[in-house]
Amino acid sequence: MDYLLSELCQRADNYKLLSECYYLPDEELMQKIADFSQTETNFVELASSVPPAAELMLLEVDFARLFVGPYKLLAPPYGSFYLEDGKLMGDSTADVKVRYEKEGLDIVIKDAPDHIAMELEFMYFLITKQIKAIEDSNLQEAQACLHKQSAFLQNHLVRWLPKFAENVQQNSQTKFYMQLSQQTNDFVQEDMSVLLENILSSQG
């Protein structure tokens, strides 16, 4: 059981750290990545792509070019852009918002609900909720959380991350964001397939 729980914890941590990576980069984040790569082999690669502290500025510039503006965004970090042919604040954004609301979550940062950081953090939230439910022996709730994760991934991140990652690959000027977007996508895709596998294998 502890093994299973720790697996959940790790998934949560991965989502959380990935989410953090899509905010404006700072030294604290870089330190987190470095710390995390100590226990998490997967982040070794990413940690190695972190530039020296003096060059943090380069990351900030790239971050702005890709994700913030003020000019045309090179890789908009919003789900609806990829799901609805370049549209922002579309139906898919509304759907994401509904899912947050159903969990009783209010958005406290000034950005669209389908921002990648929010969607990744939402996965973190669902997983921690599942952990809590298991600890409380609320099996029904834990199961519900599992399905919510799978539904959310299937409808959103899994569908648009490939295109997003490609966009970043093509437009990024830093190794860090190329690495980050690629690893985000790969992690989420695999997480999805394992989630599904687990759900389906339970039938037998």
């Binding site: 509304a94 199961q143 399905h147 299937q154 759900i199 339970s202 039938q203």
Partner: protein
């Protein structure tokens, strides 16, 4: 299908064990399939064309749609998103009463959308004609363009009634404002925050902008039927996706010859009417010359 809220809320009764919690879905594929269906309902789909079919034989002209819309959407007095046209025709004793429930026609070729200079009127989920209050500059082009008169302009602060500070009997009754504060309403006592949560600025609207029915987009995008549809005691309103030939709306439109308001204008309304308000029997006659 009267209460989708309840159906959606039904939970799987199946037991699950702690052991298969993570590795397994517990209730298995059935639940998963259910989850997928439910999410499919909510998931974005560009191909939906939502329409409303109003069965006039079932309609009794009670006005339940009009009043329920008022409460759902905090519509101020003098404005009705859900409305009606009625008149008495004929000479005594041969008279008939005509009654047609009306609402925004959700035109496929919406003149209001074409005319709006700021894209405040725009097409949204399910091809609903949406209005973004924050983009609206109150130019009233949409009012002029709409052939159906279903768009209303706020020329003064809405809900003025509730802002009065006068009490009828001093110390014994409240002022409207006091009442709203006492019950922790918002401008109106029975304020519904559902719209505002969905589209900021759309909850109460304000002076200087227009407003209209958006087919309860705040409900529809959550898989709920528009409130007027839910509230119709006669089930005269049927909502559905025209792109789905098996939707209840499509079926009705196949069975009965539908008509729409001002079809000749080519606006392609998506509010359809079928059958007669009064289908009463008549005696056979060949008439006379």
């Amino acid at each position: 299908m009267k209460f989708p809220e309840q159906e959606n809320q039904k939970k799987s009764e199946k037991k699950i064990s702690r052991r298969n919690l993570i590795k397994a879905g517990g209730a298995g594929a059935a639940v998963l399939a259910g989850a997928q269906t439910a999410s499919a309902k909510q998931s974005p789909s560009k191909s939906k064309r939502l329409a409303m079919v109003i069965d006039l034989q079932r309609c009794t002209g009670c006005g339940g749609c009009i009043l329920s819309c008022k409460s759902e959407n905090n519509v101020q007095s003098g404005i009705a998103w859900s409305n009606k046209k009625s008149r008495t025709v004929g000479k005594y004793p041969n008279v008939r009463f005509e009654y047609i429930p009306t609402l925004c026609n959700q035109c496929e070729n919406a003149p209001c959308v074409k005319g709006c200079p700021t894209k405040a009127m725009h097409k949204g989920y399910g091809n609903i004609t949406m209005h973004a209050p924050k983009k609206c500059i109150g130019c009233r082009t949409c009012l002029a363009m709409c052939p159906y008169g279903v768009i209303s302009m706020h020329t003064r602060k809405p809900h003025a009634y509730w802002k009065s500070e006068d009490a009828l009997i001093k110390g014994c009754t409240a002022s409207p404002k006091e009442l709203v504060e006492k019950v922790k309403g918002n401008v109106i006592p029975n304020y519904n925050d559902a719209r505002e949560k969905s589209t900021p600025g759309s909850g109460l609207r304000y002076k200087g902008i227009v407003e209209k029915c958006t087919l309860c987009d705040h409900r529809v995008t959550k898989g709920l039927l528009p409130h007027c549809v839910m509230s119709c005691p006669a089930d005269a309103r049927v909502m559905g996706d025209l792109n789905d030939p098996n939707s209840a709306a499509s079926k009705l439109l196949s069975k009965y010859r539908p008509w729409r308001l001002k079809e000749h204008l080519g606006t392609e309304p998506k509010v359809f009417y079928v059958r007669e308000f009064n289908p009463g029997a008549t005696k056979k006659t060949k008439g006379s010359v």
